[in-house]
């Protein structure tokens, strides 16, 4: 594992009006690391993740990607930096007006100026990897939620990103489809992809994460190896939260 810092967050805060969602967040993600972010709803997990590629503009603080502070670059530079960060959303957000293969090819062709046949090759390879090669010419609306999310992952991977951000990727899925998505993510982690995952899937976090960050009330209250954090949480809020989750399982 390399020690290169991919993402570095310093004193990040985010307000919506008078509502302070994030208060002084600090953290570093190194190349090849998998970070899982857990915490009660309303903790600011999603907002934190969306601040990492500036889908939300931080109120103050720094978000450094590969050494560049994203909060101080212009629109053009931001677009250039974003293409190196993949993102997967809770609600998939595939483009419904395009076939699966066109969803994958659009950004490589338009942003990376890849030739059509080359983009086709990359896209088919990725679809094969997520087990959906036969759905290449289907429209998203004809796919199940699990299939759509796998396509969304493949779409993000088509840009060959340096880091993948996952925003509760399995929360909108029927229970029987969660497994197929986690499996894809699991393989991705094993191949050494740097990942930041907001999730409620403790099993996945335990198996894959290098570090779990527990967030509540706009702070990261505790961070530790998954086994340590799940079995011996130090923070009172973390103890409470993990206790509740284990009961439910």
């Amino acid at each position: 594992m390399q020690d290169k810092k991919v993402l570095e967050v310093n004193h990040l805060s985010k307000k919506f009006g008078n509502n302070e969602i994030l208060k002084d967040i600090n953290g570093t993600v190194k190349s090849g690391e998998v970070i899982c972010v857990i915490g009660p709803s309303g903790a600011g997990k999603s907002t934190f993740l969306r601040c990492l590629n500036l889908l939300e503009k931080p109120t103050s603080g720094e978000v450094k990607f590969d050494g560049t502070d994203l909060t101080h670059v212009d629109e053009k530079q931001l677009i250039n930096l974003r293409e190196r960060m993949g993102m997967v959303f809770q609600s998939f957000n595939l483009f419904p007006n395009m076939t699966v293969i066109d969803n994958l090819k659009l950004a490589p062709i338009r942003v990376k100026h890849m030739k059509d046949d080359e983009a086709q090759k990359v896209a088919m390879h990725l679809l094969d990897r997520v087990g959906l090669a036969e759905k290449a010419n289907a429209y998203p609306s004809s796919l199940s939620g699990g299939q759509q999310q796998r396509v969304a992952i493949a779409r993000a991977l088509a840009m060959n990103p340096e880091v993948m951000l996952f925003d509760e990727p399995t929360s909108a899925l029927d229970p029987e489809m969660v497994g197929e998505v986690l499996e894809v993510m699991n393989e991705l982690a094993k191949e050494g992809m740097t990942m930041v995952v907001v999730t409620h899937e403790m099993g996945f976090a335990k198996e894959v994460a290098d570090e779990v960050w527990f967030m509540a009330d706009g702070y990261i209250l505790e961070r530790n190896k998954p086994v340590e954090l799940f079995d011996h949480p130090q923070n009172e809020r973390a103890k409470d939260f993990i206790g509740k989750i284990i009961q439910n399982v």
Partner: protein, 489 residues
């Protein structure tokens, strides 16, 4: 509230600026009298008329080609010949004739125009070339009821809007209700269906109708009038003395040799040609030309309407405040004024600065108008696309332009397709308004056919059917594409 006020002020400023521009250029044009010199240099005498008023001027189909003929046309031909220039005939609504010469669209207007004192204030007139006299048309069944104009007391009288007959009926027939319409063909139909009791009309026209339609009779108006209220003269833009004097020389000859009798006789012959066969099929070429122009205007205006609409809608989403403000002002202004006024403004108003032909003016006005509506539809469509789509595209590094082109607009168009289709269909129908500036669309041709055949209802029915065929065909095409898009997710 404050925002609204600001928008209103912007609109007012815009309007004032537009009119100021027009006014300045209008005064600029009317400087020295070069009217005759201009005609001679050009080698063409441009004349404007409203060819739905037999026997003064009307259209005939001769050897498969449309011609405007009639007594007035012969007078104009004589004038052009005496000036040694070519005669160019433009046609438009009677209402617009005087405006056309005031705004320089033509050198002179002819059309049985009576040189009244009121009209003399806004245009110059030649000498009177023909004195027809006023009369009324009535239904044959009413001959005993209305033996003379005196019996018309308290009756319902029809007359062409903006004509002398309209004013005279109001002033001189006691207790009469006067109903105005644009077309004499409509008025005759109103008379025959007893919506009006009598129709005030020039004597030669009345005679023509009586000859062609046994259900109509003519009675004398009984008005005692001065020459200016019975005679017909040619109208010119104010300050065209040199041209008026030259034309008067021709009129002196016409008077001396009584040429108008000859002209009326040949007009009568043409009218017989027209009314020999009044079946609608015989006039299919007229309708075909109308359909052709209506389709042409609709296609061009739809194309530019959508183009303008997309640009305006994108302006609404711009980061620049002034671009947003401009788009909002434009949309509000266009939606807040009638299309008819916009057509007149483009043709006559803008026409003072740059001379735009009627067809192009019509297309411009309809495109500009449609653009405002399309912009609002597209804006709604863009707003209807889920926010997640923008975020997904941004996370992939797509530029704003690509986001719009490949992600947002295709989805927006699918959502708004039915509303857009509705706009296209109403565009076909609303484009009919361009007939007022003389564009030969279906409505214009319809009125020509009615004037030529003396048949009031059948041409309307044919036009109705043709409009329906056009809109229905378009509906099928739109549905086809809607089905295709539905298939695509």
């Amino acid at each position: 509230m404050k925002k609204n006020l600001k928008a209103i002020i912007q609109i007012i400023i815009m309007t004032v600026a537009m009119f100021a521009l027009t006014a300045v250029s209008a005064t600029h044009v009317s400087a020295a009298d070069t009217s005759l010199q201009r005609v001679k240099q050009r080698g063409e005498l441009i004349m404007v008329t409203s060819p739905d008023y037999p026997p003064y001027e009307f259209q005939v189909n001769k050897n498969g080609k449309d011609h405007i003929v009639g007594m007035d046309i012969d007078v104009a031909k004589k004038v052009a010949k005496d000036l040694h220039v070519k005669l160019v005939i433009k046609s438009m609504n009677f209402d617009s004739l005087l405006v056309a010469i005031q705004t320089g669209k033509a050198d002179m207007a002819i059309g049985g125009i009576n040189p009244t004192a009121a009209r003399r204030q806004s245009v110059d007139f030649s000498k009177i070339y023909y004195t027809g006299g006023q009369s009324f048309l009535i239904n044959s069944s009413d001959v005993n009821k209305y033996k003379s104009a005196k019996n018309l007391k308290g009756a319902k009288i029809g007359a062409q809007t903006g004509t002398l007959q309209y004013g005279l009926a109001k002033k001189k027939i006691p207790d009469a209700t006067v109903k105005g319409m644009d077309k004499s063909t409509d008025l005759v139909l109103a008379l025959k269906t007893h919506k009006i009791d009598a129709l005030g009309i020039e004597k030669p026209s009345a005679e023509a109708y009586v000859k062609n339609d046994p259900s109509l009779k003519m009675i004398s108006s009984g008005y005692s009038l001065n020459k200016n209220e019975t005679g017909a003269a040619i109208a010119f833009k104010k300050g065209s003395n040199s041209l008026v004097n030259a034309v008067n020389k021709s009129i002196d000859q016409i008077q001396k040799k009584n040429l108008t009798d000859q002209y009326l006789a040949s007009a009568g012959k043409y009218m017989k040609v027209n009314t020999v066969n009044t079946s609608m099929f015989h006039y299919w070429k007229y309708f075909a030309k109308g359909v052709e122009y209506t389709i042409l205007i609709s296609i061009v205006s739809t194309f530019f309407g959508v183009l303008i609409g997309v640009i305006l809608a994108l302006m609404r989403f711009s980061k620049q405040k002034w671009l947003r403000g401009l788009a909002i002002s434009y949309t509000e202004f266009i939606r807040g004024t009638p299309l008819m006024v916009q057509v007149l403004f483009v043709y006559f108003g803008i026409g003072v600065v740059v001379n735009i032909p009627a067809l192009i003016s019509g297309m411009i006005a309809v495109s500009l108008n449609s653009g405002a509506y399309v912009a609002e539809i597209i804006r709604g469509g863009i707003n209807s696309v889920a926010k997640g789509q923008t975020e997904a595209a941004a996370s992939l590094g797509l530029s704003k332009g690509d986001l719009m082109r490949f992600v947002i607009l295709p989805q927006a168009f699918k959502n708004i397709w039915p509303a857009l289709g509705n706009e296209f269909i109403s565009l076909i129908k609303e484009s009919s308004i361009v007939s007022i500036i003389g564009v030969t669309d279906l409505i214009y041709q319809l009125n020509i056919v009615r004037a030529d055949t003396y048949r009031g209802v059948m041409p309307i029915f044919v036009a109705m059917l043709l409009y329906f065929i056009m809109t229905f065909a378009l509906t099928r095409v739109l549905n086809h594409f809607e089905g295709k898009m539905k298939h695509a997710g």
